[in-house]
Amino acid sequence: MGSPTEAGRFGEFGGRYVPESLVPACAALEAAFRQAWADPAFHQQLSRLRTEYAGRPTALTPALNLSADLGVTLLLKREDLAHTGSHKINNVLGQALLAQRMGKTRLIAETGAGQHGVATATAAALFGMRATVYMGERDIERQRLNVFRMELLGAEVIPVTSGSRTLKDATNEAMRAWVAAVDDAHFCLGSVGGPHPYPWLVRELQRVIGEEARAQTPTVPDVVVACVGGGSNAAGTFAGFVDTDARLIGVEAAGGAAMTNGSPGVVHGYRSMVLQDADGQVLEAESIAAGLDYPGIGPEHAHLGTTGRAEYRTVDDAEVLAAVVRLARSEGIICALESAHAVAWVLRAAGTPDLPTGSTVLLTLSGRGDKDMAALAGEIR
């Protein structure tokens, strides 16, 4: 997974479909990223933050009991153990450093599950910046704990009441806010979508997941699997294995499966696969996992999918709930509803031609489930 074209394209996907008002800000971010990425001092700073602050490298845990049950070797890359409880911190620490280099004093973010919002609020606290987080009203209801965490960290959480009142609309609102604040605010986008350079920048910042995992696995696994909302934990994981023979599998929510059920379109500044109607009106996704409840997918995934290098599967809400319980009771790990999508696919596929007995599977467990306790309490007895 290398650099996109100069126009920010991965094959036919990507690009920079933003209003003229945002073009200079995107170009400035691209320039700052190119410069920082070539600067050893930047990597040193980032690397220190990762080890001293975020708790990296995260563990690779063999899921011994599940492996025995399923007849596969299941290895869990434990992003749930990273500070703030998910992989989102990897991206945010890098972007906050970039924001600081660019002289920005404020971070604007969108969030679905609230994990990216919490990570942004955390970095803002650490770097002495202001954070404004846009979150759909519906997500505020179902991820209350994370709203409280953001507020405790000093961030302002702004409820978004338009459209489906979820991540899609929070992203619109964050981009609108950015237009009015480009001088002093950095738009800290949470996944591998958005206008160039975000899909590339966020994947590079998440690459640490895949690189660590590659070093932690004695041999290259047969299958590498991760859940896909916008696709950042999957992209970061895949980046460590794309040059191997490992099969790469992204798991979408059945109700938000842009890659599986979508068609090419342009939303939130990039061209990719999108759930939409015949006119191009974007459809509302529907998933129990707020972080995957999104009608688009990062452009590089659309490229990996159409070229066949990665494959995409879907699991439904019921399978996801069952997967949370199964992982909790067999391994003592309570994962996020988002991450449970990857687990659910392994549970379903193990022993079938899609995942034959004896396979070795690396699964990125993108986050921990604390945020979902209230939602789960109603679903699970």
Binding site: P19, V23, V266, H268, Q276, A278, D279
Partner: protein, 263 residues
């Protein structure tokens, strides 16, 4: 002559083309027809609401274009479509532009297609006889401004403010400097839009540029239930303010390209 381009969300009410004809009677030079999109990221609350209201009514691109065809015999001024990239690229920009042209639309504004992404759409628009109107912003650097001026057709849209659409208390301080910079790099008329809310603000903008686009101030009235007659009066107020500016200022320069929008 200062140009007045009022905006109307296509399909906002069942009788929405009555507003279009009212705008025309009130002295509009062209009308911008919004083709509503589910995720209008450059629009503030008013146009978002207007788009949602139209979409909830079940309007489609086809239904809006059919409504336009139905009143075509009564429309004497140019119609300009304003919409977002996803609608334009859904079936390819070639098909999209041909559909617009078939309904008598002669201009197109797509705020989330900046000049760098405009190549294929530009060619498609030209082939269909549609003017692709490009937007410039207060933060646009001089070299980009020149390119926008060179590649835009019909007029150049000066986005007055670093913000989304929406009414404001005063014309943004960034409006006049941008219009002035644009007029140095293009012979095309420079129309100022975004946030122009009152006839007084329109006059101030028209002194710096060649005309104005009025959107949220009108759509708020429509959302509040104002009638086509009410909107005729509203647009006439803007017309009078611009005509007043024309009287103060002798025509500073001729605009041969503008003829398409000023029959």
């Amino acid at each position: 002559m200062k140009q007045l381009n009022p905006y109307l969300t296509g399909g906002i009410t069942p009788d929405w083309t009555d507003y279009l004809l009212a705008y025309q009677e009130a002295g509009a030079d062209a009308v911008e027809i919004g083709l509503p999109f589910s995720d209008p990221m450059m629009d503030g609350a008013t146009i978002q609401q207007a788009s949602d209201q139209a979409l909830r009514r079940g309007v489609t691109i086809d239904s809006i274009l059919a409504d336009l065809v139905a009143v075509r015999a009564h429309v004497r001024i140019p119609l300009i479509a304003m919409t977002y990239a996803n609608l334009v690229f859904r079936d390819g920009p070639e098909t999209f532009c041909r559909r617009l042209a078939g309904a008598g639309i002669s201009g197109l504004i797509v705020p989330d297609v900046p000049v760098d992404e405009a190549g294929r759409l530009e060619a498609a628009a030209t082939a269909a006889g549609i003017d692709l109107i490009l937007l410039a912003a207060p933060v646009t650097a001089p070299d980009r401004l020149a390119e926008i001026g060179r590649r835009s057709r019909g007029f150049v849209y000066a986005v007055s403010v670093m913000d989304t659409t929406g009414e404001r208390d005063a014309l943004a301080a960034t409006a006049a400097p941008l219009a002035r910079r644009l007029r140095e790099v293009t012979e095309l008329p420079v129309l100022i839009g975004f946030g122009i809310s009152t006839p007084g603000q329109a006059a101030a903008a028209a002194r710096a540029g060649d005309g104005v686009v009025i959107a949220s101030a009108l759509m708020r009235r429509v959302l509040e239930g104002a009638s086509p007659d009410d909107l005729r009066a509203e647009v006439a107020g803007f017309r009078a303010a611009l005509d007043q500016v024309d009287q103060e200022m002798p025509v500073a320069r001729a605009h041969p390209e503008v003829s398409g929008y000023r029959r």
